[in-house]
Symmetry: C2
Subunit: 303 residues, 2 copies
Amino acid sequence: MNDLPDPRSVCAFLEKFQQEATEALERLELETGFRRDPWNHPDGSRGETRVLEGGETFEKAGVNFSDVSGTALPGAATERHPELAGQPFAAMGVSIVAHPRNPYVPTAHCNVRFFSARTADGVDRWWFGGGFDLTPYYGFEEDARHWHAMARAACASFGDEVYPSFKQWCDRYFYLPHRDETRGIGGLFFDDLNEWGFEKTFGFMRAVAEHFLKGYLPIVERRRETPWGERERAFQKYRRGRYAEFNLLYDRGTLFGLQNSRRAESILMSLPPDCGWIYDYRPEPGSPESELTERFLGARDWV
Amino acid sequence: MNDLPDPRSVCAFLEKFQQEATEALERLELETGFRRDPWNHPDGSRGETRVLEGGETFEKAGVNFSDVSGTALPGAATERHPELAGQPFAAMGVSIVAHPRNPYVPTAHCNVRFFSARTADGVDRWWFGGGFDLTPYYGFEEDARHWHAMARAACASFGDEVYPSFKQWCDRYFYLPHRDETRGIGGLFFDDLNEWGFEKTFGFMRAVAEHFLKGYLPIVERRRETPWGERERAFQKYRRGRYAEFNLLYDRGTLFGLQNSRRAESILMSLPPDCGWIYDYRPEPGSPESELTERFLGARDWV
């Protein structure tokens, strides 16, 4: 089962997904498009970073494709296979982060990736990983239920235990221990996935990618005209600080990217465009800002 | 030499230094003072977090004292004594971070700390650590020379090799490998220091604390009336993102604090009040913004 499959079909899908996501987000803008930044590294690694900044809908969004290889797999890359650390590897993936301008529109993240590596004994291994999660600034039950309904739909044909299992993994992963707080309302997270065999697992990755767009786009459409002012902006900037904390302190994708850096700027495109830290800020009890942590952050069943 | 000295004199000095630094920074404000937040933990750890926000001179500043003990020393706390990891310990220190409003005034940081721990064999160990470093947004040779002159003066009576050695340690420590860039123009950094014996090493810590204020206050006075506008503000916000990157990705004090967290908010007071990440920003060649990285960041001899 763990013989190395041909990664070209995965690569072709990832490039197509990058293009679809780019176009889907650009359709939500009037005048701003993604800057496209293709890059090649002498070791054969390559990618295309696409970043949109200063849009009407998105203050900053990134849709990155990369296809990298290396001589020594960083420890951050595989949780369950420590024997592969330091071994030759290849990794390809698409990462999407969208930071909307309107504080009523949540920040969204999606990543799908395919890894292959060879053990010191010459055995080839491969696995898929990825998922998506949503980080609202103001909580809406309707949005949370839709988001998790799409997460469940992505998993539906792969087994009844898949959604609950990867939903819980997401809640555990996007978690700030020093705050005892989840990053947002979660979604799906999976890693080191190969036990279904290549074709089925690849199909699961495609379903995750597709349902990310089905989950996010309607929420953006629904909330982006909501009026907002300085109060909402200040709270959005404050909460974006948490996003930066998570990515820089804990996110394995970010740490893997920086340890194995081809382009730090491509990795750090996920960081927010405008944020700040306020000492010991506590929202007024009963306010919508207080409701976010009380009712939306923390693992909760949405569907 | 490494028998456990009485830490009460160190504690008394640290509390006095906290008060001096608080008053020195408050003298640069017209209307804003530090909020004082004393705290106690059931295990006997205690501290006082002091944060000033929204000042005329300082957009955010923190002057924190803490005196904590624990049953298991985190790995981040000692570089040269891995045998102490997981052992009972006590740590006391003062940390200062000042984020000025005016982009022509540099951000400054100082930390002085005293650790003691007991090995599994029951042997008591102690050491001092600390230092200070300066992070300008716009570079001024005059300020850099003054800052390093004060760093050298702090070391002068402790041996000729002390300033060059701890200056280089600072350049190596406050370094962002994924950017190949220092955090700022450096200063002093030292850790695990005990080979001079207790009295002399404690004296060195006092000299470091004193020269931090002698280094920073004249620079603030000199630059805080310099006119600035949107351009300088945007660059300051951008560069503050680097400060957040360093603290969350690499700073041992931050990681130690969060691993051994009594109060995450006290640890994260160092993070900037208003910052942001711009994709692949490159200042115009020859501009003052470009001069910062070209002439000021990176290890350089200033005195």
